[in-house]
Symmetry: C2
């Protein structure tokens, strides 16, 4: 009973497939005739089906077709991404079970992932942010997800042979990395075909960006780092559309871009999307000031995500009972002179570098969302073009500032207050 | 007619094997009964047979047994290294044919590489240096080898998908990387079983090294970089025992440690061995001053290798007709504003970082040759223990200086003159 391999499943195919697999069958209550199947993929790339049985319980089936969904067969993309997404979900779930859905099954032949259904009231974080919802538990959860997955998959935790096996495995997710290279690190800084921006309002700023040697130097350094610095298993696409939230839970989905890269890439992805929400918020106000509280929370979210990430990361590092390949007991253990104090100095240097990388990648991701191929709903939903342009202009300038000036920021507080000052027109 | 798989070939086996393979057979002139087979492996790890036919022509057969030769079966090591050595020889030969022997055949079953024989007058560079020979053509050749292999295998040249395939492939040479991690980046800085040093003469210096927080911090940063920074295909063991020379030629052999790592690792390996020869030279003088000319040449060799490497590397970069994944034409090509000037700024930053890495790795490699498991003949052949200790002490101090102070050197000239000053007791 194979599923259609190239055209996306039909409702009937899916029901039959699930019914025939006892393990999958047990996840969807009731008679299969009463199940509902909805295609809900609002992402750009894949098809996502929700199969619901009695009581709204069921599962999610995500299928990768050999092209980019929102563009069509003219932009081919390897179906193998579904295998990497599955492996990454399983790896992330093992490291951080509270914040990653469980995978039930992967069908390689039709590139389909059968996984835990994050049922309503779960919504995509980005839409909550656009509506001005405050999620007080967000920073804690997201910082836990990042500290845990980035630490545990890194050489700070894994023996170097296991680490290299993983690097090797995820290196083969190359087509997804190539897409990132193109849409984040290349196209926005030149006259690329797929680019778009709010024209003519931002024409001057965009022209200036594409003349800016500092921006080109910075983006090239970051691209090189992205490609060559295999620091940890990255989610690879950690924007606010890859996070689902309720009032009490936070889950991270959609790691199809997973690979070994610099930690700051995930951190920067998430923070840049919070900053984009911050700069977009003026566009969503009925009256000036309506979103003051929301903005204040977004600012604290930036601050808390970084600070909590840092604290949790160091705690994981210190809690590791035996030494790692990177910090062996022979040099840093209890028997070594000043071992602990020396390790602390290493930690400070290490996290300072991650901080700079984070700001740089955050900047790159802000820039590309204003002038590249894929924009964010936070901005796009601002109906008034001029008002939107003003929000976008600030986001673009701040992105450029982070990108080029990443080494100049002393701490996250300076980032938050500079963003606020820019928004205030200072 | 299989070759012995675990005990090393016998003379007869080798002759029969080569006779039976028409392609191999054609490399060794004369009747096989008249051939001579000598085992000449003076390296620490493998067996090397020279098969000579009429007129001294023939081939070299290098065989990897599943343990470290100089220690025995108690230190197991994967035979797969021969496969990686073969692939690296083939890759390097393709990039830089003038300085890498040709591979004729690889026999996986018995982990044997059949390759071009670098016949006499070829000798191992290290022995020439110990004898005080000056090789005026050395810096040009070695800088060509490094500039070419490091540039061409990097993301500055390869499309990112090809680059990632190579990273993935060489990641599996992990046991060899683990050996490097242990003997270069870990053991020398703690009380490890296999360590040895010229005791009691250097006891104080060694104790001081193992108490030195700055050294531990530096070596840990470099170890992390070694493991995670997949910049280019490294030879991985580029000391003066991996280079064969005549008066006019230079060949690089023995890349069994090949993998993708930071460029500075190869550069540092070579320069550290020239510096070790420099500090050892006093120990080889019958009368003070005997080696003045040789020392002056060693100094110019350090200077020339770096400077020529840098110039050749940038020339390769500039000569690349189309843009690379790392520096796409869209941003840096002729149509892009200030493209060339901007690229030049990137090159300066890039090479500055390679320079610092080079000094750091050079320092690490000097230190480990004085206090770790594997020493160098340059020092070991100094018979008088005290005289040797003085040479070793200077090398150790200078190694530490490079390791910890790598960021403080403005240029290679400062390195050369500081080494000279230290030797002069300043
Ligand atoms: N496990 C899940 N539970 C509930 N909804 C999901 C789940 N996975 C995906 N979705 C829904 O499908 C949408 C697209 O999924 P996503 O994995 O982001 O696909 P894409 O790779 O195409 O972006 C999500 O925005 C979300 O609404
Ligand atoms: N292609 C060759 N031509 C001539 N001699 C060689 C060749 N390859 C190796 N040798 C000799 O064998 C010795 C050991 O070879 P090497 O590859 O360095 O082995 P190991 O990995 O054990 O260090 C070299 O020092 C050199 O004397
Ligand atoms: Mg998505
Ligand atoms: Mg692989
Ligand atoms: Mg996706
Ligand atoms: Mg050797
Ligand atoms: Mg060797």
């Amino acid at each position: 009973m194979p599923l259609s391999e190239v055209k996306g499943f039909t409702e009937e195919e899916l029901k039959r497939y699930i019914s025939a697999d006892p393990d999958l069958r047990s996840k969807v209550p009731g008679d299969s005739a009463s199940w509902t199947v909805k295609e809900v993929g609002d992402g750009n790339i894949n098809f996502v089906f929700i199969v619901e049985g009695e009581g709204g319980k069921g599962m999610v089936v995500k299928q990768a077709l050999p092209y980019v969904r929102c563009i069509g067969e003219s932009w081919p993309l390897t179906e193998e991404r579904a295998m990497f997404e599955t492996t990454a979900l399983v790896d992330e779930h093992a490291m951080c079970p509270d914040h990653v859905p469980e995978v039930y099954k992967f069908d390689k032949k039709c590139s389909a992932i059968f996984m835990e259904y994050l049922a309503p009231p779960n919504i995509i974080l980005r839409y909550g942010l656009i509506d001005g919802v405050v999620y007080r538990h967000l920073a804690d959860a997201v910082s836990t997800f990042m500290a845990t997955t980035l630490f545990k998959s890194s050489l700070l935790n894994l023996p170097s042979d296991e680490y290299r096996k993983k690097v090797s495995f995820y290196s083969d997710n190359s087509p997804m990395c190539e897409l990132t290279e193109q849409v984040i690190f290349t196209d926005p800084y030149g006259d690329a075909f797929h680019n778009r921006h709010n024209s003519p309002h931002l024409d001057a700023e965009v022209a200036e960006l594409r003349r800016d040697a500092g921006a080109k130097i910075a983006i090239s350094e970051l691209k090189h780092k992205f490609c060559t610095h295999a620091q940890a298993l990255l989610h690879g696409d950690l924007h606010t559309g890859s996070v689902m939230v309720t009032d009490t839970t936070v889950s991270v989905i959609d790691p199809e871009f997973a690979f070994y890269g610099p930690m700051g890439f995930d951190l920067g992805a998430f923070l840049s999307n919070i900053l984009l929400a911050f700069f977009a918020s003026d566009g969503h106000e009925a009256r000036p000031g309506d979103r003051d509280e929301h903005r204040a929370w977004l600012q604290s979210c930036v601050r808390d995500v970084w600070n909590q990430f840092q604290n949790k990361f160091i705690r994981l590092w210190n809690d590791k009972a035996e030494g790692s390949s990177a910090f062996p007991d022979l040099l840093f253990g209890e028997a070594a002179q000043d071992g602990a104090a020396t390790k602390q100095l290493c930690q400070t240097t290490f996290l300072r570098q991650v901080f700079e990388d984070t700001l740089g990648f955050a900047g790159a991701k802000m820039v590309r969302r204003i002038v590249g191929v894929a924009h964010v709903q936070d901005m796009d939903r601002i109906e008034d073009e001029k008002r939107r342009a003003e929000c976008e202009r600030r986001a673009l300038l701040f992105g450029k500032r982070l990108l080029i000036g990443r080494a100049a920021f002393q701490n996250i507080e300076e980032v938050v207050s500079e963003a606020a000052a820019l928004r205030d027109g200072k």
